[in-house]
Amino acid sequence: MTATKAPIEPPSQQRTVRRPGDRLFSGAAKGSGIFILLVLAGVAAFLISEALPALTAPSEEIPGGEGLASYVGPLILGTLLGAVIALLVATPLAVGIALYVTYYAPRRIAAGMGYVIDLLAAIPSVVYGFWGIAVLAPQLVPFHQWLTDTLGFLPFFAGPASTSGRTMLTVGIVLGVMILPIISAISREVFSQAPALHREAALALGATRWEMIRMAVLPYGKSGVIAGAMLGLGRALGETMAVAIILSGGAGATLNVISNSNPSTIASNIALSFPEATGLDVNTLIASGLALFLITLVVNMLARWIVNRRADFSGAN
């Protein structure tokens, strides 16, 4: 800055006093902001530069021998399938839990329950993996059989039912439990912030508690629930260890979620194949990682867009 800066300054800033602390703090904050962008850009640059050899390699050299698209395609499908099942399982449960904790449970129970649900998030994913393979999967075998017997006409449940229970469905359920605390924590937060005026008005007009929640709380909290679900989806998409342990993966693209041949997910496939991979195999795995990066980016942008769109008329502002 030059010594003769006064005339150029906009009028609003003329009166602002700037002490060293202000400069220091704004500099540090700005630095942190730029730093995180640099990290993100660095990761993206690494992924792209390492994936490039696989993107440009002739298709017969890619593992499987049929090109990158047919290698990564089933993995993307598997990743999305598992995450979508997880969302279908977790979102209704999480909303129910959040509503119970904020509006139904006695205060003492509510506090304890919120704490217990948050504890779910503290369990390491490898423990979920062991629980899934040792306890849940064997328990779900009859359920798989029932699904294919009664709903076998749907492509998802075409069967033959897995004999071990280590299917995409089981993985989805475990992932659902894993993302439950994320969605319910955020939902709880927004539900508890629903304006008291709206709630009391609804009750005063003769609404029952359910009607009050439907008219005053849910519309207000919708964007928060969606944001929570998208955060959960991000975790479900990237979950590695639990999926690697539970899923019987490695098959091609299929929508069938209850057979013992399932498409693997991107993250678990990387974890399983990377230790022995060399040369182009590594580049191919990183290319699949790039695909996951892009998917999570799109999911997050979509979530942001939905939240912003709803925010205008939800009364959140």
Partner: protein, 371 residues
């Protein structure tokens, strides 16, 4: 604990000092504690670094070897990075590792590069880690089964789908086979076990099994699980499941005896060592290169053909005296009876036979530093 360390020291110094055959070495173990000798290195003098990179299959054996070796030579910084066979060979060839652990021997191209890395000298490849692979199953009321290679290939390629299939029944007239569906479980990760198992199927049952041997399961679909512990866990929890895994890990599961010649042989350490001992060497290799082609088609009685062989690969001549001494001391320990027994206790692998030990000893004795 102290006692075993001391006896290990005796074995080690004896192995270092002498070129006695190992049978004699075992006897020397009890009677005399000789020291000093040929290479001029004794326990106290060794220091510096020893870096190994390679196969994950050797990992638990390597932990035992590392503990034993470090007990003898506390001043040597030993490390083994289980980054995979390919990485091990690559890093040995480019000089960043002193030796490699690898489930496969060097190929022609790698051999040329390795000779260059070793100053134009010889390369040693020692089959020091031998592990029988069991075909293990979970079938109520059946503990033992006899299976021919073609039947195993049929089961794992999903053409034989129930346990009372005529092919299985014909080989097991005495067993009561239920009509349970077969769930064939394979490894989800890239693994030397899979590579050896598919190599066996490809060679011994070529009409049924047509996929080339590969570390990654070559067929689409089917039940898969991560790692040896993963497949064992799944088979244990799933009635009617069958898998292939390190024999030492089969635990409570039933283990199949495999058709060899006219009889059926169950996996055992002796049978695994026997097949390795009698397998033909890869042709056109150097004097100290003991790369072998495991004889999957063996018809000898008492040989079990589904084995995983993992090598230690290093130079006969190192640039640096300390490095040569360290490699020599480590390899001596690995092939010693004590080293093999410790590894076998920890990893459940088969100990190498005396014949293999003798030939490996020849290579280890030849390790020197460039003048």
């Amino acid at each position: 604990m102290k006692l075993s360390t001391r006896s290990r020291a005796v074995v080690l110094s004896t192995a270092l000092a002498s070129t006695l055959t190992l049978a004699a070495c075992g006897a020397a173990n009890e009677s005399e504690g000789s020291s000093g000798g040929g290479s001029g290195s004794s326990a106290a003098e060794l220091s510096g670094e020893l870096v190994g990179v390679g196969a994950t299959s050797q990992q638990s054996a390597m932990e035992a070897w590392q503990a034993g070796f470090e007990g003898e030579y506390p001043d040597v910084q030993f490390s083994y990075a289980p980054e995979g066979s390919g990485a091990g060979r690559e890093q040995f060839v480019n000089g960043s590792a002193d030796f490699a652990g690898s489930d496969a021997a060097l190929d022609e191209e790698e051999l040329t590069a390795a000779a260059e890395r070793c100053g134009g000298g010889e390369v040693f490849e020692l089959p020091n880690y031998i592990s029988p692979i069991a075909v293990a199953f979970n079938l109520e009321g059946v503990d033992e089964l006899n299976l021919s290679p073609a039947t195993i290939a049929g089961i794992f390629s999903n053409t034989i789908t129930t346990w009372n299939d005529p092919a299985i029944a014909a080989e097991n007239p005495d067993a009561t086979l239920p009509d349970t569906a077969i769930t064939a479980v394979h490894r989800a990760d890239d693994s030397g076990t899979t590579e050896n198992f598919t190599d066996y199927l490809f060679q011994a049952a070529g009409d049924v099994w047509t996929s080339e041997p590969d570390g990654e399961w070559p067929l689409p679909g089917g039940e898969s699980a991560q790692g040896t512990s993963g497949v064992i866990e799944v088979v244990t929890n799933t009635p009617g499941a069958i898998t292939y895994a390190d024999a030492s890990r089969a635990g409570e599961l039933g283990v199949a005896a495999v058709a060899v010649g006219g009889e059926f042989v169950a996996p055992s350490a002796e049978a695994a060592a026997a097949v390795v001992e009698n397998s033909p060497a890869v042709e056109g290799r150097g004097e100290y290169d003991f790369a072998i082609e495991v004889n999957r088609l063996t018809e000898e009685s008492g040989e079990y053909p589904i084995v995983l062989v993992s090598y230690h690969i290093g130079c006969i001549e190192y640039d640096d005296q300390a490095k040569a001494d360290n490699v020599k001391a480590f390899m001596s320990y690995v092939i010693s009876e004590d080293g093999q027994a410790t590894a076998s206790e920890n990893a459940g692998n088969a100990e190498i036979s005396d014949t293999l030990r003798e030939q490996a000893q020849g290579a280890v004795d030849a390790i020197t530093a460039a003048a």
